[in-house]
Symmetry: C2
Subunit: 326 residues, 2 copies
């Protein structure tokens, strides 16, 4: 199938790498809002085009993978490009998913395309695992822990503080909370009891470290509700030790079965990711395969990971899947 | 939806318990090959009927859950009852799944019913996780570890040895193998390197323990390829310490992404189950919901966990799923 990429940041580059690993896929073009000449991609002989020329590719692309951000890009782009292409996005503003779904569904149904939204690992694979586990163990409780991993939003928040040159924030699950959940105790956990926040901060010469540390630790929404640890390091140390974008996390459901709930079961799904964007885009690419197949079957409208049978993601046939993986 | 149970052993009882936890389900009848008067079930006011009367319930049951064994019951029962009912089974003889699928598919398509086969945790949830993970990380390798848990087949094999009164066999993953896989090393592991077998054995007074231990450890297929540990205990100890049917295991996929495979990701799905049959039946019941819904949509034929969109398993609507779990 023929894939287009819209947006060439970490996600766009991740999609490009993932396409290389899937023999049934071909990258047709990368679209950008920048001057195409300024964008160098990894794949030889594939054009970079300005987004204004994208409709010229309407019949040359089976699925367009949208690699913009959830704050301002995707709410506009996904309904817009669903008018012309099968699309997949990684919209991750949980609270706005119903609205985004409605907008995209209307556009895709009218145009006769398939649009898969909120694909990645959370939302995405974590959502799937919350859903499967809750369907299997209705008398239970689920927990999602994120990390250890880099939160881009929290790192940005630290960078906006006066005197800060650069920063990297890690979200870290609290080991005691994880242990209690894994033991089937079904604890009630506060925000503070679930995660801690580790901040590696580079400051300007002569900056007031005490003030900066205090501003971080008391920042509402971002840090005030957490046990936050601030470490001042040099720019060289930041580059040497914190240049990756690792992430991951765990979804755990603990539930009871038996006539009187006498047996406890623990279902756990965990991810340890060297590169958050590359794993996210690996998921996007698998769902691009599904979008294309659904489209070929005449399906129309907006879908999420909940709506798509697993087999659509795999390059194997039904026979191969039953023989090799069932 | 109205559920029937065929077969009232550990699985049948587990289905009965699971139905109690799902408000959209009702147990209509339990069918048995035994004298119905000899079978006492847990649910008040639900009839136990002989299997010979099952066709009287043709229009009173939406899904019949088949709780027989894979060796001799299901190969006959699933195609037979798919002629009259939507059915779900837990057929778990991996090598014979393609043949079973073909037989059941033909029967269900001709009758216009939905049949979901090989539902449980392996095959079932473990299969799903092998499939999702391999679709997301095509450049990788997956590993399935079982246990710590009771293997009924291995326990039975020990019981057949002369002088053995009773036995319980636990399959146990080798910690070093698990660690190597979790570290992303993609090791090649032999059968012996993946699992050990722990046997708790009760023998007759005066039995030759050395001979029994040797017969166990050298038994082809069951034990010879494993590091096997034999512990002789009393019948009281067996009843006190080994009366449960716990099981579980782990599916791990380790894979590379990036232009040159420079990043490693680990996806892990694990189950810790107090009761193997009760978890298996929790999965059966969730797929019974899916079978009924698919049938209502006019779908016909044999399906596996790969073919069924996750949302069909949940009692929540699409809107609720997107709002609460995505």
């Amino acid at each position: 199938m023929r894939i287009g990429i819209l947006g060439y940041g970490n996600l766009g580059r991740g999609v490009e790498c993932a396409i290389k690993q899937n023999e049934d896929m071909e990258l047709v073009a990368v679209f950008t809002r920048r001057d195409p000449k300024s964008v160098k991609i990894l794949t030889p002989d594939v054009p970079v085009a300005n987004i204004s020329d994208i409709l010229e590719y309407k019949d040359k692309i089976d699925v367009l993978i949208l690699c913009g951000g959830s704050a301002t890009d995707l709410p506009v782009q996904t309904p817009e490009y669903a008018k012309y292409f099968n699309v997949v996005d990684s919209f991750d503003t949980h609270a706005k998913i119903p609205e985004h779904f409605a907008n995209v569904d209307a556009a895709a149904k009218e145009a006769g395309t398939v649009a898969v939204i909120s694909v990645g690992w959370d939302p995405g694979m974590f959502s799937l695992n919350r859903m499967y586990a809750s369907a299997l163990l209705p008398d239970g409780k689920d927990y999602t822990f994120w990390g250890k991993g880099v939160s881009q939003g929290h790192s940005d928040a630290i960078r906006r503080i006066e005197g800060v040159v650069d920063a990297r924030q890690y979200t870290v699950p609290v080991p005691e909370a994880l242990s209690a959940v894994r033991a089937g105790d079904c604890p009630q956990l506060t925000t503070r009891q679930k995660h801690t926040r580790e901040c590696y901060v580079v400051v300007e010469d002569g900056a007031d470290k005490a003030r900066i540390e205090n501003e971080i630790k008391t920042m509402p929404n971002y840090f005030a509700d957490y046990d936050t640890f601030v470490y001042f390091i040099t720019l060289d140390e930041l580059k040497r030790d914190h240049s990756g974008i690792p992430h991951g996390g765990v979804v755990i459901r603990s539930g009871k079965t038996g006539w009187n709930g006498e047996n406890t079961h623990i279902i756990e799904y965990s991810l340890k990711l060297d590169s958050n964007p590359e794993f996210t885009t690996s998921v996007l690419v698998a769902y691009a395969r599904a979008a294309y197949r659904l489209s070929c079957e005449g399906v129309r409208g907006c879908k999420t990971v909940f709506d798509i049978a697993p087999a659509y993601l795999s390059s194997m046939s039904g026979e191969e899947l039953r023989k090799n993986l069932l």
